[in-house]
Amino acid sequence: MHFARVVGTVVCSTRVPAWTGQRTLLLQPTDPEGNAQGRWVVAVDLVSAAQGQRVFYVRGREAANALADPDNPADAAIVGIVDAVWAHAWTAPGDS
């Protein structure tokens, strides 16, 4: 699972039936500190995330499994809202 921030909502009046009633949000992936990293992702929202919130999402087949009916084409799904990240002090030799 990966960190992201909610940056918008994607509304489609026509879409696959498997996504009926499902919100799709626009995410900016981030690093653990919350800094933007990589390109935007559209993900189905399982946790009622709000604009600006830090979330984590799952990619791939497991994103579709997050919905009640796993027979859907989702490849990214928001599965949690980040309350806190506790980073432990550790620096790899190769990171200096």
Partner: protein, 93 residues
Amino acid sequence: MFLARVIGEVVATIKHGDLGGQKLLLVQPVTPEDAVTGKPSIAVDAADAGPGDLVLVADEGNMAAQVLQRSRGPIRTVVVGVVDQVEVGGAAG
């Protein structure tokens, strides 16, 4: 699977039901020499790992379901072992 170093924990009150009661660890992929490689990700802890531990992480849904003894869900990244020792080319490292 890949080697990673546990560099933190993630706290989330609101999360998918399948993640309920699971400890979420922040894992940084590393080489056997402990050098950072690739981006950190969030993994479910199935090995009782702790801060600073070198761990084995699986990133595949079917394996995650088996390790957590449940039907397939949205979990794919799981800490499945705490590494004691890695040997590269026959020399203990």
